[in-house]
């Protein structure tokens, strides 16, 4: 397993290189450069000032030179500075990643717990009205666009019912754990809905598959109590698809977070990325893409490693 991990990590390096090169190239084709974004349409900057800015931002050099300069610094851990405000990219990311991870973490946890829970119930009570209702609700959950759920959620729960604040990360002047939690709950729950839906269905079908296999029936016939049967035999086998789904949907979670972060003014990387594109902030876009790609690659690796732990039958080729 150690060798496998090492191999995967090594393969990741050229992968990241290719991704960064492709994103950089894509950016060159985007209409408008950072200077165009820096200056609003009705603002006057003299030609001399533009030149100074251009040199300052390194935009006067040829494209390959710009890329390799970026690359050279990136491997040393220096992701450069934002064009928009001169802040170091890594620091900005460092500030914005925790809120996104917090949101994703809570969303995922709620999603996994409730998803597995409902999945087991649906499986055990299969073909009953409860099962059908849960299945239908699950489908509804994955069919609703994230931003619609977010808008409606904010409207109903924050405005009409007043249970939660209308967005933001904390109340200005406060910022204690409970304050942040209060602001976190609504977007996290909305985010978790998709997860609950997907996991519920997968858990249900995995549990069903295993529930009727011989060894389970044997244990049941031997008189082992039914919930122990489920817990011990079924869950472990059902975990594989669950782990797959979690891993595969991490990228999705980042995507869903973009909309929800925007609607709830949650200061995370999704919003950061939208901002960076708006201002054609090349270093920021490159830096964010790199970090996100690393996270996804790591998540995939961990998912695959977890397979090995859960099911010893899986060999690492």
């Amino acid at each position: 397993m150690g060798l496998y991990t090492l191999r995967r990590l090594l393969v990741s390096i050229p992968l990241l290189l290719v991704i960064s090169a492709v994103v950089f190239t894509l950016l060159q084709f985007t209409p408008g450069d950072p200077l165009d974004a820096y200056i609003p349409p009705d603002q006057v900057l003299s030609a001399q000032q533009r030149e100074i800015l251009k040199i300052d931002l390194g935009l006067d050099q040829s494209k390959p030179v710009q890329y390799f300069k970026w690359l050279g610094r990136a491997v040393q851990g220096d992701l450069g500075y934002r064009i928009k405000n001169g802040q170091p990219v890594l620091a900005e990311l460092g500030r914005r990643l925790p809120p996104t991870l917090l949101l994703m973490g809570l969303g995922m946890t709620v999603g996994v717990v409730l998803g597995i829970f409902f999945g087991i119930i649906a499986a055990v009570k299969r073909y009953t009205l409860l099962d059908n209702t849960l299945t239908f609700l699950a489908f509804l959950g994955i069919s609703t666009p994230a931003f619609l759920a977010g808008l409606l959620g904010m409207y109903v729960f924050a405005l009409k019912l007043g249970w939660f604040p209308a967005g933001g990360y904390q109340t200005p002047g406060q910022g204690g754990v409970l304050d942040i939690l209060r602001h976190l709950i609504l977007p996290a729950i909305i985010l978790s809905v998709t997860y609950i839906a997907i996991l519920m269905r997968y858990t249900r079908s995995s549990v069903l598959e295993v529930l009727f296999q011989d060894y389970v029936r044997t244990a049941s016939a031997k008189g082992v109590r039914s919930y122990r049967v489920i817990a011990k035999h079924v869950l472990r086998n059902a975990l594989i698809p669950v782990v797959t789904v979690i891993g595969a949907n991490i990228a999705n979670l980042i995507g869903g977070a973009v909309f929800l972060e925007s609607i709830f003014s949650w200061p995370g990387t999704g919003q950061l990325y939208l901002d960076a594109i708006d201002s054609r902030d090349y270093p920021m876009i490159m830096g964010t893409t790199l970090i996100l790609a690393i996270i996804i690659l790591l998540a995939n690796l961990i998912t695959d490693l977890l397979y090995g732990l859960i099911d010893p039958r899986i060999r690492f080729s």
Partner: protein, 295 residues
């Protein structure tokens, strides 16, 4: 050996894989519901111009923001355009985006996946690394960057979404081909001297159809949702052309969300129903065509 004479009570009916699949499909209640629902939506959308009494782009400033009832069955939008006509016209756009983007994914994905799965070796390796790269791209990054580059518009949206979806198709096709490759009839064909291309096209690929059918139905759903998301961000389909996504994005203004519900809810409901229907359908197809398939 006594021949079994067919009698009324012991008639053996030949069961083709097709009819078996059909039977399994029909047993899936939700899948049938999905099929019917999808059918209704598609018909509505196609015959939209005949159903609606107004054109989707007919502005009438004196009939702004009218609630449903009266001449405009679903009411009007802020420039007096008929909501029913716009929603149905938007349906054409959204369904087209969903369908064609998925088809693009299928074409690219099948080609690459078939090459990888059939030939194996270094071809497989290179293609799979490529798949890894594209799959690892945070898709939202690619979506936004591409949309900023190529600009908005229906055809560009179709291409962008299509280009994002092919890795999954490639993976599915490759996996199916790998399992099929070892089957006897392929070896028999090779032994008989059939060349690679013939084997690929005539024997191996048809087996892949069932995987692709499921992919298409789920891909359409995903495509519609992605288009909705892009339009919400201001990319995707541009006004005055309506799409369910950009009709829904008018709910971004609290006033419209709250007081002009009829302007965005039909589009929202239709997105949900269409995606729901295609999800049911895809689920049913998966169970019917590939009952042993694990995800």
């Amino acid at each position: 050996m006594t021949a079994i004479a067919p009698s009324e009570s012991t008639k053996l009916r030949a069961q083709t894989p097709g009819s078996m699949a059909l039977k399994r499909f029909l047993r899936h209640r939700l899948a049938v519901v999905g099929l019917v629902l999808l059918g209704v939506i598609v018909l509505l959308v196609i015959f939209g111009p005949l159903i609606a009494r107004f054109g989707p782009d007919e502005i009438d400033l004196l009939a702004r923001n009218q609630p449903p009832g009266g001449a405009h069955w679903l009411g009007t939008d802020p420039t007096g355009r008929d909501i029913l006509a716009r929603t149905l016209s938007a349906g054409r756009v959204s369904l087209m985006v969903g369908l064609f983007s998925t088809l693009i994914s299928v074409v690219i994905g099948t080609t690459l996946g078939a090459l990888a799965g059939y030939f194996g070796g270094w071809v497989d390796n290179v293609i799979m690394r490529f798949v890894d790269v594209v799959m690892t791209f945070p898709s939202i990054v690619v979506l936004l960057t591409l949309a900023a580059i190529v600009g908005p518009g229906i055809d560009k949206t179709i291409i962008i979404i299509g280009v994002l979806g092919w890795p999954l198709a490639a993976r599915l096709v490759r996996a199916k081909l790998l399992s099929v490759r070892e089957l006897d009839f392929i070896s028999a064909a090779t032994a008989l001297g059939a060349n690679d291309r013939r084997i690929l096209l005539r024997h191996a690929l048809p087996n892949v159809i069932d995987v692709l059918v499921v992919f298409v139905s789920l891909g359409v759903a995903s495509g519609i949702l992605t288009e909705a998301g892009l339009s919400f961000l201001g990319l995707g389909v541009q006004p005055p052309q309506a799409s369910w996504g950009n009709l829904l994005s008018s709910a971004r203004e609290i006033n419209i969300l709250e007081s002009y519900v009829w302007q965005w809810m039909p589009a929202g409901l239709l997105i949900i129903l269409t995606v729901l229907a295609t999800n049911f359908l895809g689920d049913g197809l998966r169970d019917a065509l590939d009952p042993k398939a694990k995800q």
